[in-house]
Amino acid sequence: MSGVLLDDLIEALRCLPGVGPKSAQRMAFHLLQRDRRGGHTLSAVLSQAMDRVGHCERCRMYTEGALCRVCDSSRRDGSQICVVETPADRSSIESATGYQGQYFLLLGHLSPLDGVGPDDLGMPILEQRLTTESIEEMIVATNPTIEGEATAHYLSRLATRHGIRATRIAHGVPVGGELEYIDRNTLAHAFNGRLIIDNE
């Protein structure tokens, strides 16, 4: 802390992703000049959130209660569980698909070279759920990166060991994309994951 509040504010704003000294300064001036009410709201909510938001006991999503909205709902399908890497991934699936099942968040992926192992990803909690809940399908929605693939394989073995069917989300050609412009690794992935065309 510099003792000068303006400098402290600019410095503090730089903890946000993608915010360098210039943008931090712009944000600070904006709040002070034009939007003090917004600034007050931001500071109050931010402070409360930092104090009270923890992880959902069942799926590890951020929540201030013991359970998140999805886990607390009685209307969700208990036979499916979708495993994702990050809260952002869960939000994307939630808004893009009509998925009505359960979730589990790893908050990362297996990365042996970085020293991230199964225990760091809450695998014991997930295994507990596979044992106690009546889950029939595990949808593995990790990223198609090397680490995401390694994680997917670990998860599918875990599921199989508990007699649960493991499925992997498809990866490949983006909708509206043209094959000619797709990189070879993505295309190879899509080619290997091809599906039978339904003639109905």
């Binding site: 070279l113 192992g117 690794n185």
Partner: protein, 237 residues
Amino acid sequence: MRVSLTPGIVLHQRAFQDHHSIIDCLTLEHGRISLMARGLRGKSSRRAGIIQPFCELLLSFSGRGDLPLLGAVEPQGPGRPQLQGTRLLSALYLNELILKLLPPLDPHPLIYRHYLSTVTQLPDCHIGDTLRLFELTLLNEMGYGPVLDYDTEGEALDADALYQIDPEREPRRIHSVMKQDDQVHGATLIALQSGAFNSHRDRLESRRLMGLMIDHYLDGSPLKTRAMLKNFHDTQR
């Protein structure tokens, strides 16, 4: 330093700030090198699908200091091999070996070529044998390889005899039957030398011997992929 489209392989990628990555590479002509890849992550990146491990690329980089900037990248040869499960982890194990054992900026064309042929074979090969031969090539090229053709007395190896292993010396013939972790049969040393493993014992003892050698040169630094491979096996049971 300004290098244009030189053959190289990505070993590891780490996030740096929001959209950048640091990639650790093995190059044919410059050895192991870390490069700053600006804008590699995020949805606007068109290169993420190309800059993938386990396959040969042509890499350009420039700049002084520890972390040159990655420039143009082009695919070269076949793309990333389709690896899953144990085979994927085994490929990561190769990467960890190179990252931990090979000093930076020390070119070893033979290690480079052997690495490339190893990952190409990995989707469809005897994993253990393939890993042993890579470990052996890596150590040999670095000058740390075990002596596999004669013992401390200068005698040729006897397939049926037992030998005591010291990572920095020739194998020493022993006449006791006492079994210890650093003892192997002559047949194992001969198998490693010829690259042809004929029995379960050859394979088991080769793994132990190479593990011993590697641990010696790693000097206490644990191999995380080795632990995870073991974990995968345990999960399978």
